[in-house]
């Protein structure tokens, strides 16, 4: 920690950052190994398999990262549970907290406001989670449920077929593969852009790695959250003069850019391949 004249506010706890790190590592590996199989006819997929040491190695990595995925899903549940317990709200209030992660009508209004802002209107009065951030969270939640369950079926096809007809494995394959394409496509384009690559943030928003943002940035980007902090008097409690350590910032930048680049390269390869397919058919 470095003391600076700039005031910082913590946005992500160490636990949250750790979960996101697990997500990055497992998701990227899942995407690379899975897409190599999905697009096996392509030279780049063959390259991945050769570098990885064969499709069986890719399969082993894929299953290992699936375990990590289930693990961070579990950690997220713990995180949500403890936040609920600390919040002295009942479960319903906690889940549908207007400042929580579940989208609500206010988000729809905020989204409309955002479109207006794109065309020169006033910048919306964003809070702790914007609607696209809520969508990111819910999408991963939904994605793990869909990709995870279909993936388990494909991992244990013999056991699965004791419970369900064997040809459901064909359906599971389509769901797993296409939902994964959606997830990888979404994260490597929309999430990367919204969070890191858009000119305001380019090339990287390091907050998910370093944890805190300058108070000024919070005030500008999330005015509603800032005003709520001021109104509740909590601001005094959360601000700190401790800036994220320089080495952490550097590490975050290097690692973050590596991940963003890898994901982007993969998605470019996929998009070019899809164009080729569409042209052929």
């Amino acid at each position: 920690m470095t003391r600076t004249p700039v005031l910082y506010v913590e946005r992500f706890s160490v636990f949250q950052r750790f979960i996101h790190l697990l997500i990055i590592l497992s998701f990227l590996t899942l995407a690379v190994t899975g897409m190599a199989l999905k697009f096996a006819t392509e030279p780049w997929a063959d390259w991945i398999a050769r570098v990885g040491g064969g499709f069986e190695v890719l399969g082993a990595l894929h299953r290992f990262c699936a375990v990590i995925t289930f693990f961070y899903f579990f950690l997220t549940m713990i995180l949500l549970y403890t936040s609920w317990k600390e919040s002295d709200k009942d479960l319903f209030e906690f889940i549908f907290d207007p400042e929580g992660l579940v989208p609500n009508l206010a988000d729809l209004r905020e989204m409309i406001g955002t479109f207006k802002w794109f065309f020169g209107g006033k910048r919306p009065y964003y809070g702790h989670w914007t609607y696209w951030e809520k969508f990111d969270f819910m999408a991963v939640f939904w994605g793990i449920a869909v990709i995870g369950s279909s993936g388990l079926a494909l991992w244990f096809p013999e056991q699965f077929s004791r419970l369900f007809p064997g040809y459901w494995l064909n359906i599971a394959t389509i769901i797993h593969s296409d939902e994964a394409l959606l997830a990888a496509g979404f994260i490597f384009t929309i999430h990367f852009y919204n969070t890191h690559l858009r000119p305001e943030k380019f090339p990287l928003d390091p907050v998910i790695f370093v944890g805190s943002v300058p108070l000024e940035e919070l005030k500008h980007e999330r005015p509603r959250e800032y005003d709520q902090l001021v109104a509740s008097g909590e601001l005094e409690r959360v601000v700190t003069r401790r800036a994220p350590a320089a080495w952490l910032r550097r590490l975050a930048t290097v690692f973050g850019l590596f991940v963003v680049t890898t994901g982007s390269v993969l998605i470019v390869a996929i998009i070019l391949t899809m164009f080729k397919y569409i042209q052929h058919n």
């Binding site: 199989l37 096996a40 069986e56 013999e158 494995l169 389509i174 296409d178 384009t189 852009y193 305001e200």
Partner: protein
């Protein structure tokens, strides 16, 4: 006595006459012995000029005595060398082996080599091109040019890229010798010294060589099964009972022969990576749709990647030489056997597991057969397209706004 009394009077006269004739001719031939010939040709320095080249006329007499023709006189082949003086006409006529080896001579004359020879093709091989001239040994002698271990070299002198013959003749097949030496037959021969393995002549014959396009050729499509069956008796027996056998399936369509799946000169061990990766393509030459749809499934997809030879290939499920349609009780994919077949790789396979569709696609061509795949795919695609359409638009519209915001932030930080 009785013999003499009865037989000799009747045949005695002609036989006696023949004996006299033979004695006379033998006396004449024996006038020139091999030693006589070697008197000149035993001299290592004896040479002559032909077409501007110096050619040795030396014959190793001791070596000749070890050849199959050791008991023959020089003159029995070089008939026109039989002169009274020291000098015989030069050059001597080409030796006619068919003088003794008449049956082989007849077969050779009908072969592609013999026909080319008759047409005056100077690259057509004469007997000695394969068998050598004075050093002819039994094919069982390891030093013989027709000993199994040496045959690929003997044939390869012409049937190989870069040979003199290829300057004027096109090779139908390429890299024959190198492909052969990498093949299961070639490896057997060169690596293990297995002389019962197939060499060139095992399939192409020695003296009846014909182009594969010739119906009489041993390697013609219609004769391939017979040719391979000479050694692969057990497999041939299985094959003749399979759906691919013309004895079982009466059809006008082309039925596969051994080489359609196994290739010819590069024929690989079936458990080898190359063959396993090849087989789907080979089956696909006829079963195109089945191969395409196989490639859409996990087995096919993974088979395209490194290590992919280990996933299930056509023959792993359908069998190979014993292949039968699924309705046949002996078929490996018949309902009665399918669990056992899947269990080879999936030890916990069960009847429900075997309803996995190994060739199904979500394509519109298969829509009627597998509507649930078709609609699942399009529902997923709809979700994908919908999500990207919305967020794509959202992102694109954000770009100019985001640039403006960034510029604004920069001017605030560095006010002029």
């Amino acid at each position: 006595m009785r013999y003499k009394d009865t037989l000799l009077p009747r045949i005695g006269k002609p036989v006696g006459f023949l004996l006299i004739l033979l004695a006379i001719s033998a006396a004449r031939v024996s006038a020139l012995t091999n030693d006589d010939c070697l008197g000149c040709h035993g001299d290592k320095s004896m040479t002559t000029q032909r077409d501007g080249k110096t050619i040795s006329l030396y014959i190793d007499g001791d070596a000749f005595k070890k050849t199959v023709h050791a008991d023959n006189g020089c003159l029995s082949c070089h008939v026109d060398a039989d002169v009274k003086g020291d000098e015989h006409p030069v050059p001597l006529k080409p030796v006619d082996c068919a003088g003794c080896h008449d049956k082989i001579g007849e077969r050779y004359a009908k072969s592609a080599h013999g026909v080319a020879m008759a047409k005056g093709d100077k690259f057509a091989p004469r007997c000695y091109d394969c068998h050598s001239k004075h050093d002819i040994l039994k094919p069982t002698d390891p030093k013989s040019s027709t000993y199994p271990l040496n045959i690929p070299y003997t044939c390869g002198r012409c049937h190989q890229e870069g040979s003199k013959m290829t300057e004027t003749h096109d090779l139908n097949k390429h890299n024959i010798t190198s492909n052969y030496s990498m093949s299961v037959h070639g490896k057997g021969l060169f690596e293990d010294g297995l002389i019962v393995t197939a060499v060139c002549s095992s399939c192409h014959t020695a003296h009846d060589v014909q182009k594969a396009s010739d119906p009489a050729s041993s390697v013609n499509r219609n004769n391939i099964i017979k040719t391979c069956s000479k050694c692969h008796v057990g497999i041939a027996e299985q094959f003749q009972k399979s759906v691919h056998s013309p004895l079982v399936t009466k059809t006008n369509k082309k039925l596969p022969v051994c080489t359609d799946c196994h290739t010819d000169h590069s024929i690989a061990r079936v458990n080898q990576k190359d063959f396993r990766l090849l087989i789907a393509r080979q089956c696909g030459n006829c079963h195109e749709h089945k191969t395409e749809t196989y490639m859409e499934t996990y087995h096919g997809r993974a088979s395209l990647l490194k290590g992919g030879e280990r996933t299930a290939k056509c023959s792993d499920c359908h069998g190979s030489h014993n292949i039968m349609p699924s309705q046949d009780p002996s078929s490996t994919i018949n309902n009665a056997n399918i669990v056992k077949t899947c269990s080879k790789c999936h030890p916990n396979a069960n009847q429900s597991f075997t309803t996995y569709l190994t060739h199904a696609t979500h394509s519109s061509a298969d829509k009627d057969k597998y509507p649930y795949l078709f609609y699942t795919f399009w529902a997923m695609t709809g979700l994908l397209v919908g999500t990207f359409a919305f967020f794509g638009l959202h992102t694109i519209l954000w770009v100019p706004r985001s640039i403006i915001e960034r510029l604004k932030a920069m001017t605030q930080r560095h006010p002029h």
